[in-house]
């Protein structure tokens, strides 16, 4: 009975994480389309939501990668998964609050690593997987997107140099509908699967599913719905940062950054390197800005984003470990997860209430 209660809490928490992943990460995918005027905000968000929903059904092959390759499966329990999710959600909300694009994927990995270490010590971490599948791609992907977007925009400007600005802008805005769509689909495919994997692991750890089982259809559908709803709910603070505060971009820059992002994600996926869409698109945006004029990039804002990237894994791990420790104070039953959940919900509600008193967050219509 107690383990079933914990499982229900874990599933609910995982879907909550998926929701925050949607409004936090997918904002990065649509930000460039919105800021260049390629699509109206509500249309871009709705389009991205649909493609995220569709993307979640495309593949289930990487659903369990996050936990299988980073922490030892022996130490995974529903409580470890729960604490890891709390770490990821907390870091997602903190960076959302500050308007910083950080990686939900790395927050999830960091949270699970932290809670696993708290549960079983550092031997629980598969160092090879953490370095080879998380840290090195985390370094390579944004730099690659930066270079590809920079090269692209330099060549694009040469090709269309003598054309009428109106024709060029209209053309690249049409192009952005496709490049933005590809990014949204890639995001749904990659990120919704991480939630599916986490729920599946919790089901296996609870004995509700056989080992190595694929995610059940209800898990896929629930994850797809949560990330799509999260996407539709906004993430306007991060849209503003990515779309206007790093560089003031034109349609060609928006297209080249999205094109570079899509190429890097697809090539990396093909070779099995999991990466963050957030890192890639922001690297692309900076590259597209720097290639036009180095001073066009607001390096102070870019520096804040880099700091958020660097902090994501250790910060989410620390919160995940803390959440595990708090949970275990109340024993191995359901009481710990229930109390930590209630405390988390109360804290989030208090923060939102305080925000509402001080003034509403950036409204959707201000896009």
């Amino acid at each position: 009975m107690s383990s079933d209660v914990i499982l229900v809490i874990v599933v609910g928490t995982a879907l909550a994480f998926d929701f925050t992943n949607g409004f936090h990460d997918t904002a990065n995918v649509v930000a460039t389309s919105i800021s260049t005027g390629a699509a109206r905000p509500q249309v871009a968000i709705g389009f991205a939501s649909l493609l995220n929903f569709a993307g979640a059904f495309i593949s289930i092959s990487v659903a369990a990668t996050v936990a299988n390759d980073v922490v030892s499966a022996d130490v995974i329990t529903p409580t470890v998964v729960f604490a890891g999710l709390i770490g990821a959600i907390a870091w997602n909300l903190i960076t959302w609050w500050l308007g910083l694009p950080s990686s939900s994927s790395h927050a999830l990995i960091g949270g699970v690593v932290g809670s696993a270490v708290a549960a079983a010590g550092f031997d629980a971490v598969i160092a090879e997987g953490l370095v080879g599948k998380v840290l090195i791609p985390a370094l390579v992907a944004p730099i690659l997107a930066f270079v590809v977007a920079g090269l692209s925009i330099a060549l694009i400007y040469r090709v269309v140099a003598r054309q009428r600005p109106g024709t060029v802008t209209r053309g690249f805005r049409y192009g952005q509908i496709v490049s933005g769509g590809l990014l949204a689909l890639a995001h749904g495919t990659n990120d919704a699967q991480k939630t599916m994997g986490i729920i599946t692991l919790a089901l296996i750890a609870n004995g509700s599913l056989a080992a190595n089982a694929d995610p059940p259809l209800w898990v896929i559908a629930a994850s797809a719905t949560a990330i799509a709803l999260g996407t539709y709910s906004g993430g306007w603070r991060i849209i503003k940062t990515t779309g206007t505060r790093i560089i003031k971009m034109d349609a060609a820059q928006g297209f080249s950054s999205q094109g570079a992002g899509a190429a890097v994600i697809l090539a990396s996926t093909h070779f099995g390197f999991p990466l963050s869409t957030t890192h890639v698109i922001n690297g692309g945006v900076m590259g597209a800005g720097a290639a036009k004029r180095v001073s066009a990039v607001r390096w102070g804002v870019a520096g804040n984003i880099v700091v958020a990237w660097l902090l994501t894994l250790p910060a989410a791990a620390a919160i995940g470990a803390l959440a595990y420790g708090l949970t275990r104070i109340f024993g191995t039953g359901a009481l710990g997860p229930v109390l930590v959940t209630l405390a988390s919900i109360s804290l989030i509600a208090a923060l939102f209430a305080r925000r509402a008193q001080k003034g509403a967050p950036v409204p959707a219509s201000s896009g």
Binding site: V131, V148, L151, L182, A260
Partner: protein, 79 residues
């Protein structure tokens, strides 16, 4: 040690494929825009043969872009 953790060849291939695909597709699409722009200009100047060639270049570039997008989706769905 790093070499044993990450396959250097796969990483290099990722870099090469990303660069070729990312730069290639965006440049090809910009050629399509160039073709459309040239078509409009040449058509205004009533140079129909050159305008036809420009629109053919634009059509070809758009077809290549569309094919690349389809290949991208196939890669994504077959991972």
């Amino acid at each position: 040690m790093i070499a044993t953790i990450v396959e250097g060849k796969e990483l290099l291939e990722t870099v090469v494929y990303s660069t070729v695909a990312g730069v290639g597709i965006t440049v090809v699409f910009s050629i399509a825009i160039w073709g459309v722009g040239r078509f409009a200009d040449l058509n205004r100047e009533e140079r129909s043969l050159a305008a036809g060639a420009a629109v053919a270049v634009a059509g070809l570039a758009l077809a290549v872009t569309a094919a690349a997008v389809v290949i991208g989706i196939v890669v994504m769905t077959s991972k």
